[in-house]
Subunit: 290 residues, 2 copies
Amino acid sequence: MNTPLFSRVVLVGVGLIGGSLALALKAAGVVGQVVGLDRSPEHLEQARALGLIDQIATSSAAALRHCDLVVLATPVAQTATVLRSLLPDLEAGTLITDTGSTKSDVIAAARAALGPAVARFVPGHPVSGGELHGPAAARVDLFRDRNVVLTPLAENAPADVARVAAAWAACGARVSEMSAAQHDGVLASVSHLPHMLAYALVAQIAKAPDGDLRFRFGGGGFRDFTRIAASSPEMWRDIALSNRPALLEELDGFSAMLADLRGMIERGDGAALEALFTLASEKRLNWKPG
Amino acid sequence: MNTPLFSRVVLVGVGLIGGSLALALKAAGVVGQVVGLDRSPEHLEQARALGLIDQIATSSAAALRHCDLVVLATPVAQTATVLRSLLPDLEAGTLITDTGSTKSDVIAAARAALGPAVARFVPGHPVSGGELHGPAAARVDLFRDRNVVLTPLAENAPADVARVAAAWAACGARVSEMSAAQHDGVLASVSHLPHMLAYALVAQIAKAPDGDLRFRFGGGGFRDFTRIAASSPEMWRDIALSNRPALLEELDGFSAMLADLRGMIERGDGAALEALFTLASEKRLNWKPG
């Protein structure tokens, strides 16, 4: 057993991400006690029964007493509301981190809600997840060999950032740091934009007069390309709005690339098409999942 | 053993598609003898050694004597050249079919090459394939439960179309008929357009100044979405050019859909985004591969 990095952790949101983090921290022996806070009493009971949390918080004041880390694992759009409700009971020594898919927007919400206390907020994003939700979906190895990105603030103490990084590393994650803007650009590019394209393609076919016929002739390529179009509409609505500036930039870059490609096809420029396809296929053949 | 539908088949192109068709026809007992014709002597030897073909053609004149079916399983761009070379030795009773991924363009090439003999050309497309190529990749079950589309010509005799359909049905395929224009629209929509989008996305990331960083953060969604961007650049160059009108129409429809989606994000219209994503996710969740 390692020395606990944190003796008392308050987990706000005991679903897939929060529950998996609690399991992994406990398995690594780097956390004393985990206290759960959630809007859903059923999820809290389930999380305790599954051993994700040790205690259900009776109030946020009670939960936050002698707490040294608060983890936000709630939908991104709730960040400001949750932080505002915690602020009055937050002790001077308590660190806060989050798990949201977008960072600039979350940081702006945290700044507005916390004021100067934002210095103790270390923003983070585990680039991991799954199609399942809720406490029952939690897995101790959800973050093993997966990327976790921290986007530290100028106000953060380096020692605080290092403690949050150590917690994720104890879960088996590959931790890296970048600016919030860079994080949002990278994720817009490799995750948010592909989701928009898959949704748009399936919607285009669904709206075609002969859409049912078209769907019947989709094969294995179509299956894989459109798999992410089955993702949660609510979650992706929130991500699209929360990462709006970076996503609009990627969308515009993509539209320009598609206009170039259209031009090559229209003027019958086989050499340019082959060069573009070769660039992409070589990159993709040599790529390995992060 | 069934009565052979065709006593002597000449297979032009003994790769994955042609070889698999020969195997399946032989296994079903609906073909007498299969004679192979290919630019590659190595592929012909390999095809004979693997039992895909019974004979290697010494000349097209010799091959076509008493032949009742010619199957073209060559790249689409070679259709006119191959048909022109066969025409002088084609007997009056010989049917011809093909396996090309695009149909309007192939039919135009066949009309130009064959003249009135185009009446004996029954265009077809097995919607199947794989990442591997050549005779060694051939599989007896490649077409089992897969779609084969015939796009008959006004000049075709219904009995000839029925014989070609029966050959594919004997291979376990689901055979349907549509017009060449409809085929090209359907395939542009569910196959050619997704390939263009996957190529364009990977190329966009490859060209970004921080492209390597971006690729490092691609996860499971990115992996599946971009799998088809690893496809053969030469083959997809030819398909894009060969199906130009239908593909341009789909590209324009997609660009319009993407512009709508961009507008929803820009003006923060969460309700419209959620409605679009819900339409797509419900369709995708209920979809089964064709």
